[in-house]
Symmetry: C2
Subunit: 320 residues, 2 copies
């Protein structure tokens, strides 16, 4: 029996751009659009840009939508619909973004932290479809996370749960910008990783990585490391192995604490692909409680470039 | 308006003894009893002992009880009422302890992991009464944990959640008996702590600890360390500070992951008292996300010697 399709508008609010799309409840994109967020000009301008984007996309595709979903950085208060202190958005305190948009367009509006929205997106449309509970990890400049437990986002007491990137794997480790020490982000977040690798290259002068960046150690990127690894570079391989061990170690702790054993990894650094995933899986299986070992699954995220708008629109469908 | 009191029978199953009590829904103990668990003789004998204990205590106090609550070690399957592979109970695979007791005595029987039962006990009768969500940590030979979220135990997918003791604070750290590395238990669990201290005493020959154990470093106990600290011993103080930092580090990770900021610490090692609690609190406040800092609370557990039977009877009252 073919169910009637439903539609929603998804808004992915980023520090650089706002991406928007109208999507079906099967995750199919009917139309999309993006515009600069102009975050440096403060919240009023950002809100203007969001409204402009929504107006534009609603005019592009005349179709009945069920609501608007917004994925935004920072701490989100679900009930109040506020976005609080999003990083890279100067001048924001608490902004009642949900209410503002709902009032303007008269569609029910759902707002959620972007990492949580990504997790809900994977749950509805991606690698998490078959699972009632999983941990979503997004690797990028930051290391983000979302906990899906019993088909729902686990938000904690004040909506800030899921900050997997700021679990420590070494309590005496390097200082993280969050104020703690040895957070997994301080090892495998893009910027930290680049720093670590460019410094370690001094003792690996033969590494292909240096060749690929014309001896400018400061130009190392995850993609360059990956390329060197694919060309058989041993040091590059050891970097990825190390990341896999570190990520596997933190996911072991998460699994022991929450008794959740499915992990979905997305984001740029996940581009390291099989070598990274295999090492993560191997580390968890080696370290986790015996009864959990056979259940451990480490899966790549399925939603790629459009993860943001898919996750945001999923907020509307997911909400019952 | 005085509400009518209700009563329940609590059973605390331990590797050495079985403790039983009849308690009111205010946590008041009407009568208690204990007998050896005879764990070394296998599950049939343990079950016989539990039945014997229940029969005895029911004959001691003729009062209408609402049910039987059992706190047991190992992984508990709540729905099936099974106790699976409890440590220190040779010969147990999965035992349907809940059903066996319910059938024998015809009282509704609730069974729960002992660490979770301790958390429910603190929630109903102890330090957690005022809180909807908190993390319970029990310090002893093992480091146990329980997560109360929104007034309920968070059990994870298969009932094994809350194993805080096996979160790693150093992914390259000492091997833990669980198979992982650098678990908090491998630093502050009683046996590990004793080993660490007795080995470190070699470089602290002037420590009062050595005096207190007549130079037998192998005889160090948490109580001895505490005594030395109270006598002004600097090394003993540094041991407790270290424990506080380590425990604070792991609780920071938990708080960042779950957005829960109240912690209740119980068990033997918690006897280190204020110096330990202050260091734990200070470490979390230093390390945790800024918005969480002002909410952090580290509280001593209130249920002491009778925590086990109180937690077990709370299972009956807590269940609605």
């Amino acid at each position: 029996m073919a169910e009637k399709l439903k539609y929603a508008l998804g808004v992915d609010l980023g520090g650089t751009s706002i991406k928007l799309g109208i999507l079906s409840n099967l995750g199919e994109i009917l139309t999309k659009y993006s515009l600069p967020s102009n975050a440096e000009l403060g919240p009023d301008e950002v809100i203007r840009q969001i409204k402009k984007g929504i107006r534009h996309i609603l005019s592009q595709k005349k179709i009945k939508i069920r609501g608007i979903g917004i994925g935004a950085p920072g701490v989100i208060n679900i009930e109040k619909g506020t976005v609080e202190y999003p990083p890279n958005f100067p001048g924001w305190g608490k902004v009642k973004l949900g209410k503002i948009i709902q009032k303007e367009f008269n569609f029910k509006t759902f707002i959620e932290n972007d990492a949580n929205a990504a997790a809900i997106g994977e749950y509805m449309f991606g690698a998490g479809k078959k699972y009632n509970s999983f941990i979503m990890i997004t690797l990028g400049t930051g290391v983000g996370g979302g906990i899906i437990f019993n088909k729902k986002i686990f938000r904690g007491e004040f909506g800030a749960a899921g900050e997997l990137g700021h679990m420590s794997i070494d309590y005496k480790g390097p200082k993280c910008k969050c104020g703690s020490f040895g957070c997994i982000e301080a090892f495998i977040g893009n910027n930290y990783l680049k720093q670590i690798v460019s410094s370690e290259l001094k003792v690996h002068p033969d590494s292909k990585i240096l060749e690929l960046v014309n001896n400018e150690a400061g130009h190392v990127t995850p993609r360059i490391i990956q390329e060197a690894m694919e060309q058989g570079d041993k040091y590059a391989k050891s970097v990825v192995d190390n990341m896999g061990t570190q990520l596997g170690a933190v996911l072991t702790s998460v699994s022991n604490l929450l008794d959740i054993s499915t992990f979905i990894i997305g984001g740029g650094v996940a581009g390291f692909g099989k070598p990274l995933f295999n090492k993560v899986q191997q580390t968890i299986v080696e370290r986790v409680f015996i009864p959990t070992k056979k259940r451990v699954k480490v899966l790549p995220a399925k939603l790629k470039n459009d993860a943001g708008i898919k996750g945001a629109s999923a907020l509307v469908f997911h909400h019952k």
